[in-house]
Symmetry: C2
Subunit: 232 residues, 2 copies
């Protein structure tokens, strides 16, 4: 149980605030990991994760040995839309179709518990479904919903509405993490997406929280023809 200790998000947000409010000016050398760990009552690894993220965002500049400074020239940011799958497909002028593959209340496997920092593996709803554009498989969704946070999901009718659409209306989130990566299609994914096993796939992973409580983890797999495009 680490509920009394600051999370990396708390630390990240507090450091961001100091920089945004110019308590720490551009170019300033900020306190070291050890000092911050003591200040926040957190593990060094937690502080390190917060610093890493701010560095990746171009807000901090970290140099080995020379320490961490507030960036002089913050980098430019682009925005991307958190797509609702129906809008994404209809927005391309295609016909949207949805197919529920399975939905069952079950214990979450280790890897899902770890990813969501779950204290208990029970009370999880596992939903698998397919989204099609003009009758061609567009996205395979493998999703875990935390019934401890969103008990109403037990009564949701996922046969007629995808979990993404249902959650938008029923489970507002305060924080989200998006990860994009490439992978190789598993046998199951290949058969659902009508590609060959081992073919490259574009994977989006989305985790949402409401005030620190994990809501859902979605693993979204697209054929390699998929393009995620954004403009600045």
């Amino acid at each position: 149980m680490t509920s009394q200790r600051a999370s990396f998000r708390t630390i990240r947000d507090e450091l961001s605030r100091r920089i945004a409010e110019r308590i720490w000016l551009p170019g300033t050398l900020i306190p070291g990991e050890e000092a911050l760990a003591e200040e926040f009552g957190a593990a060094r690894a937690t502080v390190n994760r917060a610093l890493q993220e701010l560095a990746r965002a171009g807000i901090l500049e970290r140099k080995r040995r020379a320490g961490t400074r507030v960036a002089l020239h913050p980098v430019r940011e682009a925005r991307f839309v958190i797509p609702r799958i129906r809008q994404e497909i209809e927005g391309r002028g295609s016909e949207y179709q949805y197919r529920l593959l399975s939905a069952e209340e079950t214990d979450a496997p280790e890897v899902i518990c770890a990813r969501l920092s779950l204290l208990s593996k029970s009370g999880m709803l596992h939903v698998r479904c397919l989204h099609l554009a003009d009758r061609v498989p567009y996205q395979y969704e493998d999703r875990w919903i935390n019934l401890n946070t969103v008990p109403d999901a037990r009564r949701a009718d996922f046969k007629s509405m995808g979990p993404n659409e249902w959650l938008v209306g029923h489970a507002p989130f305060s924080n989200a993490e998006f990860t994009f990566m490439a992978g190789a299609a598993s046998a199951d994914e290949a058969s659902l997406l009508q590609v060959r096993e081992g073919d490259p796939v574009f994977i989006g992973e989305r985790i949402t929280w409401m005030k620190g409580q994990p809501i859902t983890l979605a693993h979204l797999v697209h054929p390699s023809s998929h393009r995620m495009v954004t403009h600045l």
Copy 2:
């Protein structure tokens, strides 16, 4: 030559303005493609591209037959940072290394001309380089720079500094397009990234323009261990 006709960007920006300034209210049915094409003196395909992009951004809702409306509930947006590769790697606490593979002035192949809407294939600088994190290949960069827009790049020393870093200082851009996708490593990419040919790779493609003039197209290839992470 289509310089007298509105580009899809002009149309997109004008439609966005009408929505942002509430000239067109949420839920409003907007004029059809044909009417907009006439108003802007543009091809229907150009109007369609602008509408598609606004729909993808969740600003418009398109329904087959029922026409296009201003969205009632605009979707949420996340931001991601346009990373400078050195910062991205050093931000992870890793050591950054850079290796120039080749740099030559040459004609652009058809596919590059088309991607950048180049009127002439000549005056292009082709730069290939490798970025390493802690001596492990992190990103292979295959980049075209338009010397007609950035003639100074001819005198840049890409042996000591990557084109990304050089361009940040020498070629400000007004617009950018980012595309993310999954692909299979070519033989060349595999050998440079130390993966096997055909292995999944995570690809970022970045195009920048200064006032309609294309500056550069970068094709950035990462091993499948790569994660692009953003938070909201």
